[in-house]
């Protein structure tokens, strides 16, 4: 159990204890310490009081039903990911899974991300922008593809490499990658106002890339319902990149481009980058 220099428990440990996140051995150790330490019990009481105050305030201002409705509304705005809707990718279109099974607290989506990639269809040349802009050598065939599909069973297409790919209302985007020799993948978007959104992941650092000769699609799908251009940037790297690092690099690139997202230079980050421009409906 981690303790501070005065051997008292850290607040973070007490918060995790209250949240029920500790295993039995850790919990027993904390409780044993608490039994013999009035100072830590006082801290625990203070934390519990703060939690109760926040709960009372939150539940008064945002009762669960109102809160849930607000969250649902937000999930319908761009960019959004449909992971929990059980979005399935099927050849020739998208379909929502009728049922999903999710695990609360430590969830795993079941059924999301099933992919059948039409290798012979509308795929276009996908030479990485990073190779041109950054002078990176193409490493082991790294590749990125943004595949677009409508809400129905219409044809799928791949976002153009040059220029902007117009998106229709309700169209969704999946990001596919082949990592080549790289080990990590991350994706962000930058809109016309320079707002950076972390797409994969939304916090933490780059996701471990799946080594495969085929394209691997990141889970869920994205729907952009804003206005104007949006740049999607996928970064394949040999070491994990922090979301904050990606965000700051994108913000710096936007400033360097004079606020014109269509002229966004490559981000000052290691690895290979792939940019696609989407024109939101």
């Amino acid at each position: 159990m981690t303790t501070g220099p005065t051997t008292h428990l850290r607040e973070w440990d007490l918060k995790r204890l209250a949240a029920g996140e500790l295993d039995s051995a850790q919990e027993a150790a904390l409780r044993a310490h608490l039994e013999g330490c009035e100072a830590c019990r006082a801290t625990e009481r203070t934390l519990a009081q703060s939690e109760a105050d926040a709960r009372r305030e939150l539940e008064a201002a945002l009762p669960f039903e109102q809160f849930a409705q607000g969250v649902e509304r937000l999930l319908k705005t761009a960019p959004r990911r449909r992971a929990l809707l059980g979005g399935r990718w099927v050849q020739g279109g998208w379909a929502l899974a009728a049922c999903v099974t999710v695990a609360v607290v430590a969830p795993r989506l079941v059924g999301g991300g099933l992919l059948r990639h039409d290798h012979g269809g509308s795929g276009r040349s996908d030479a990485p922008l990073g190779e041109r802009h950054l002078g990176n050598r193409l490493k082991g065939g790294a590749q990125v593809e943004l595949r677009i599909a409508g809400a129905g069973d219409g044809p799928q297409r791949v976002a153009v490499e040059r220029g902007a790919e117009p998106l229709g209302p309700g169209e969704r985007v999946r990001i596919g990658y082949r990592a080549g020799t790289h080990r990590y993948v991350a994706a962000i978007s930058v809109d016309a106002q320079g707002e950076v959104s972390a797409l994969y992941p939304e916090a933490g650092s780059s996701l471990p890339a799946t080594p495969s000769a085929q394209l691997t699609y990141l889970p869920g799908s994205l729907e952009f319902t804003g206005r104007g251009s949006k740049k999607v940037i996928v970064v394949l790297s040999d070491a994990p990149l922090a979301v904050t690092q990606l965000t700051q690099a994108a913000q710096a690139a936007f400033r360097q481009a004079g606020g014109d997202v269509s002229r966004l230079p490559p981000l000052a980050l290691p690895g290979e980058q792939f940019q696609r421009t989407l024109l939101e409906p």
Binding site: E11, A106, G220, A242
Partner: protein, 180 residues
């Protein structure tokens, strides 16, 4: 604590997509809503904005649900998303925010040894606008949440030396001695 990976309690819910999502959301709201709201209120200093931000945070959490690792701490995960969200929101008003904070900082004194926790937290918040996003997040997680360097590094996906460097830079400006 850092060496032992906690195993969060698992509850499996089966059912329709929308029904399951509502159940997941309810569980998250009940277990972590106050903590997330508290973090948003601390950073945004406005109840209405904190309420909106709390909803935004949970919407983001739901959309990245499938990537959440089962052996990770859901509390850390949600607090990290909340912190990142609020700091990003504040970034949009950075100029005015920084100016205001600078004025406030100049009028107040550095907390002395033995200062109450809330004084230190208030001081940390006032200084955030002077730093880049990553340093802000590191400072909040370390000084407000009480995470260790290792926990901050893990939450932000950075190395411990990098976090130490960020916090040292923060400490120099903050004038607080109990920094790493």
């Amino acid at each position: 604590m850092a060496e032992a990976a906690p195993k969060p309690h698992l509850v499996v819910i089966a059912g329709s997509a929308s029904g399951s999502r509502r159940d997941v959301l309810r569980e998250l709201y009940q277990r972590f809503g106050p903590t997330v709201y508290g973090r948003c209120l601390y950073l945004l200093k406005d109840r209405h904005r904190a309420e909106d931000a709390t909803q935004e945070v949970f919407a983001k959490a739901l959309t990245s649900w499938d990537r959440f690792q089962g052996d990770a701490s859901p509390l850390t995960w949600l607090v990290t998303i909340a912190t990142h969200h609020c700091l990003n929101e504040l970034r949009g008003e950075r100029a005015a925010w920084r100016k205001g904070f600078t004025a406030q900082v100049e009028l107040t004194s550095v907390p002395k040894d033995g200062a109450k926790e809330h004084e230190v937290r208030d001081w940390v918040r006032k200084l955030l606008g002077r730093f880049d996003l990553e340093t802000q997040a590191a400072a909040v997680h370390h000084h407000v949440d009480g995470m260790t360097l290792e926990e901050v590094a893990q939450a932000l996906g950075r190395s411990v030396p990098t976090i130490r460097k960020r916090l040292a830079a923060f400490a120099r400006v903050a004038g607080l001695e109990s920094f790493p």
